[in-house]
Amino acid sequence: MSLLTLSQVTKRYDATVALSDVSLNVTEGERVALLGHNGAGKSTLIKIVLGLVAHDSGDVSVVHAPPGSLAAREATSYLPENVAFHPSLTGLEQIRYYLRLRKQNPSGANALLERVGLQDAATRRIGTYSKGMRQRVGLAQALIGHPQLMVLDEPTSGLDPVSRREFYAILDELAGRGTAVLLSSHALTEVEARTDRIAILSRGELVANDTLAGLRRRAALPIQLQIAARPDTADKVAHRLSGRRLNGTRVDVTCQHADKLERLSEIAQLGDLIDDLEIVPPSLEDLYAHFSRGGASP
């Protein structure tokens, strides 16, 4: 069941086209990463979903309701980019406030703060928090009331690797319970392939919308096979495979995805000439650059 549906959504700011004919959906329990450079249209898309900005044409349905309607807001939680809170309030007071706004019992605030690892700072003012801690308060408020749809804008920026892993663990748990998650990021490496699908925006257009494996297939970027030859066989290996010798023992061969198995069997036939073999798929950066340059159509 699709909890977020955008079909052919277009938004213009005067002469600038922020979103052009974008269609995207997120179903129950699905985690979709929305990628794009700054200015690609991610923020506009998120604001349209939240009802903070009106779209010019196309249809948007947020948990079966119009964006920004009370029903949509009740079912949706949001973590803004660089989330900010009033510095005079403590983490506990802030979360109690958000609980009340969602008509939940404010006594649940401690449990939420504990869940994001802030129990020790709960009674300190948010003004004294680090960026990562504020981000955790933001995550805690987004967890209130088991939302059906979660919209997270650059949620992992400012988090250290350990916190990022904890963050994704919480996300996995939510998705397991059926929450649809849309999270934006400016880098593919940030989402750590912990999402089910990746949508890439480039200059307001959706240029990719697929699983990571699907993106790799479609991009058809060459795969690198790094072969470690024995000291005296490197030349021979390079010659037989028509590869490139890098140093005394290393030979590199690049191939397309479709040729991968064939090349591997060629390498395997060399038998004793080979010491080791490493297969290096195109990096996430390569992949992202390929699509965000507009290298493919959806």
Partner: protein, 273 residues
């Protein structure tokens, strides 16, 4: 309603932390003390009790101070949230913009009420200490209290509207102070100049009273003075107070807060992020 109360609880907490509660109470208390000290001198043969005279002085004080404190508390309400980046998240919550604004109004009005109550109580105690007949003036003091709240509500609403329209705290503060100057100070001076130039003509007879009632601060002054025993002690525009029925001034004081809040809510609805 629950959401409005949630907003107002949070706002009250923030105002308390920002010392706004303390600042406004100390300000009102200080002025009340100064007035009481000044008013403790023998007043001659005014025929009014001490408290009624104090109420007249407090009216002249409140007409400047209450709008000022209200504007200072409210100019940041929307613009500050935009600047801090806290508004987008609040608007994503299932709470309407009017509920947010109403919550802020409730909190700010509460703080203002507290400050006014403390200030007026000090003045009342001083009057009671000096005059056994002071109890006669109590109804006037009670009336002054709730009309002060209405006056405060007007300027809180105006402050929110300014905040939502300018969207920047710096501009909002500037516009708020300019409005205070125009509505509270210059408006009266302008009217006075017009009346002097007109020297009892049509303007003074038929236009001037309505212009007085149209201004919430003047309506506040008129209503309190016309209902007061100590009109003579107030001077200034007191003469005009007799020309206008008190219910008109009261109507102005009731309509203004509603109008100001409606304007603020409309301006807030137009804010996009």
């Amino acid at each position: 309603m629950n959401r409005t109360i949630a907003v107002s609880t949070s706002e009250f907490l923030i105002s308390a932390r920002n010392r706004w509660v303390t600042i406004s109470i100390v300000m009102m208390a200080l002025f009340a003390l100064v007035l009481s000290a000044a008013g403790s001198a023998p007043t001659g043969d005014l025929g009014a009790d001490k408290l009624s005279i104090t109420v007249a002085s407090l009216t002249s004080l409140a007409v400047y101070l209450v709008p000022l404190v209200a504007l200072l508390m409210s100019f940041d309400a929307v613009a500050g949230e935009i600047e801090r980046g806290t508004l987008a998240l609040a608007l994503a919550y299932p709470v309407s913009r009017s509920e947010i604004l109403a919550g802020k109004l409730l909190a700010h009005l509460g703080i203002l009420g507290l400050a006014i109550f403390v200030g007026y109580s000090i003045a009342a105690f001083a009057a009671f200490a000096l005059d056994d007949e002071a109890a006669t003036g109590l109804p006037a003091l009670v009336r002054l209290f709730w009309t002060s709240l209405l006056l405060g509500a007007v300027f809180l609403g105006i402050g929110y509207a300014v905040s939502a329209i300018t969207r920047r705290p710096g501009s909002a503060a500037g516009v708020a102070i300019a409005l205070w100057l125009v509505l509270i100070v210059l408006y009266d001076i302008g009217l006075l100049a017009a009346v002097v130039a007109d020297s009892g003509g049509t303007f003074t007879q038929s236009v001037f009273p309505w212009l007085l009632v149209a201004n919430p601060a003047d309506a506040f002054r008129l209503y309190n003075l016309s209902a007061s025993e100590a009109t003579a002690a107030a001077g200034g525009i007191a003469g005009a107070a007799n020309a206008i029925p008190p219910y008109l001034a009261l109507a102005s004081l009731v309509i203004w807060p509603v109008a100001a809040f409606t304007l603020a809510a409309a301006a807030f609805r137009r804010v996009t992020l």
